[in-house]
Assembly symmetry: C2
Homo-oligomer: 348 residues x 2
């Protein structure tokens, strides 16, 4: 097997006739604090550059126990919400010379656990996780080890970790209030499986909050969990069912962008028109919502802010972790923004 033909510290030291120690110190910017003469420092710097020295990260990692990479695990990196999140995280950490390892859990508990284990195993310096798991055991394990760690997007309330989430409940409530204020009473809420995910739970709660506030009775028939594997099919049948029962809601509150895409197709293929036949408000924001006919009113999450906050907290923890201190857990809850477009009909 080929070892990269890289020069090592030893070679630089050799050609300069100094010790590895000295070279290492200089290259790590500890020349001054160790009183290495300026001349020597310059010679080292120059040699390193000339010889195109690249420190071996394995050796370095083995020695100091850090990798300068952080792990991000989300359910699916090809979901625009998460790919934009990943980009924001990447930008936030690359400023500090960190790199990103991105993993998709595919909403599989098994896979997520494996991934997490793998990342810890690979000695990433910290993990940002949007968890799919309906139990907090594996996270507690991570925490036991002082492992720098922050939960984003999806939270648990029975566990004390760093979290950066969005106020899903109030965001959803606001969306549904907007619908109600346009005169609607038969409003259905659609969430995506797995139904235990906090974002979905909270958005459904927000929906209920709004109905209660306006004394609209809750109806199980109008609160559906759509299996993520067959979104379109389920939605299409649901519309057919509602129609034949003469129970068609006048408005839909949709809890996520994938669901919304399925809805738009299912509605269209049922020969229904938004907002004439049915109104719709969705969580998330994607190009499609802005460009659809009609433009879809939606609840925008501050993706960039989520990422920045998560990274900031993670870095604090990485730093204090080096001093084997422990930090009080932080919880950030960011507000969403509703953007009113044209998908809700004003009822007389």
């Amino acid at each position: 097997m080929i070892k990269s033909n890289n020069v090592s510290l030893a070679e630089i030291a050799m050609t300069l006739g100094v010790s590895k120690t000295l070279v290492s110190m200089v290259l790590n910017g500890k020349g001054d604090e160790n009183g290495i003469s300026r001349k020597t420092q310059e010679r080292v710097m120059e040699s390193a550059k000339n010889m195109n020295y690249k420190p071996n990260q394995f050796a370095r990692g083995l020695s100091i126990g850090r990798s300068n990479t952080i792990g991000l695990v989300v359910s699916d990196i090809s979901n625009p919400f998460y790919s934009r999140m990943a980009r924001s995280v990447e930008d936030a950490i690359s400023e500090s010379g960190y790199n990103l390892m991105i993993c998709s859990s595919d909403e599989s508990e098994k896979k997520e656990m494996k991934l997490l284990e793998m990342l810890v195993n690979k000695q990433v310096d910290g993990i940002i996780l949007s968890s799919t798991i309906n139990s907090t055991e594996h996270i507690k394990n991570l925490m036991n080890e002082h492992f720098p760690f922050v939960l984003i997007d999806r939270a648990y309330n029975n566990i004390e970790t760093n979290t950066v989430v969005v106020n899903n409940r109030s965001g959803a409530k606001e969306a549904v209030e907007h619908i109600i204020n346009n005169g609607h009473k038969r409003i259905a809420a659609l969430i995506i499986s797995p139904a235990h995910i906090s974002t979905q739970v909270d958005r459904l709660e927000g929906y209920r909050d709004a109905l209660k506030k306006y004394s609209i009775p809750l109806n199980q028939y109008y609160q559906k969990v759509i299996p993520r594997g067959e979104i379109y099919k389920t939605l299409y049948s649901l519309l057919v069912e509602w129609k034949s029962d003469s129970m068609m809601p006048t408005a839909l509150f949709v809890a996520n962008n994938q669901l919304a895409i399925g809805c738009l197709e299912a509605i269209r293929n049922n020969g229904l028109l938004i907002p004439r036949d049915i109104s719709l408000v969705s969580f998330d924001d994607i190009d499609l919502f802005r460009l659809y006919s009609p433009p879809i009113t939606s609840v925008i999450q501050p993706i960039n802010a989520i990422a920045r906050n998560a990274v900031e907290i993670l870095f604090e923890n990485i730093k204090t972790n080096e001093n084997s201190e422990s930090l009080p857990k932080k919880h950030k809850c960011l507000e969403t923004n509703i953007v009113i477009r044209n998908s809700v009909l004003k009822l007389a």
Copy 2:
């Protein structure tokens, strides 16, 4: 600084009263070939599991020179084309226990070079690159070192590396032929900057091929490079300009999905209707195209196949690299698929 409280090989060896060598062999599945007794092997396995042994990857990497991670650098991971690509790559490599390090170059040459250097430096086992750079020097450097490497999406023709691309030229030609066959003659082509990127060059060539084939004169006025920083603004002005010059094309061939999004908005905000006032065909495929009114005819790239092929080639190279052999470079060119929807007007 806290070292993870992990058990080491030595500890397992200790508790079992055997050598580290033995433990290492067994755990790496080389027990049989080294004639370690079944009993001993089982004892080792069990201890490892009980003690929750996780090999230190730095130490392992330092020893064997591999990281089991591969690097993917693209211009922007939040572009749906690349995020879907990333997902496909992730799926393809995770089967083999590899992980993905994803980096966005932001179409900056400097950043791409840094990223590449960093990845090599981090000892990734191979790199998949969609390059933004208008020169092949940095890639030649990588190749000199036998570094497992494959170029995707964007290619260079003056360099001998593994490449997996799509037949952009014929895909574009087919798209434009479709437009022509509907009776159009004033057809504009829009590509995105930087204009030297092979995908954009080739798609423009394909456009020219089609016009030539039907003896439609080429017109510089109808071939525009849109700066990626201000897509919408440029496009909007362009339409205004065409209108005021009474030179409005009857159809647009758009070379990428970001451009198409800008076009749809600019067209709408100019009070134009697709396809009544102007027809449009785009490269790439995103949900929006299918759901737009009217649905947009587009050229679909086989993203998953690109990823699978790239990974396959990369893995071959990684394997032979271990034997310090060198492999003949492979070139894959996959075909695109046009999906006819409703965005091209049939002219009388």
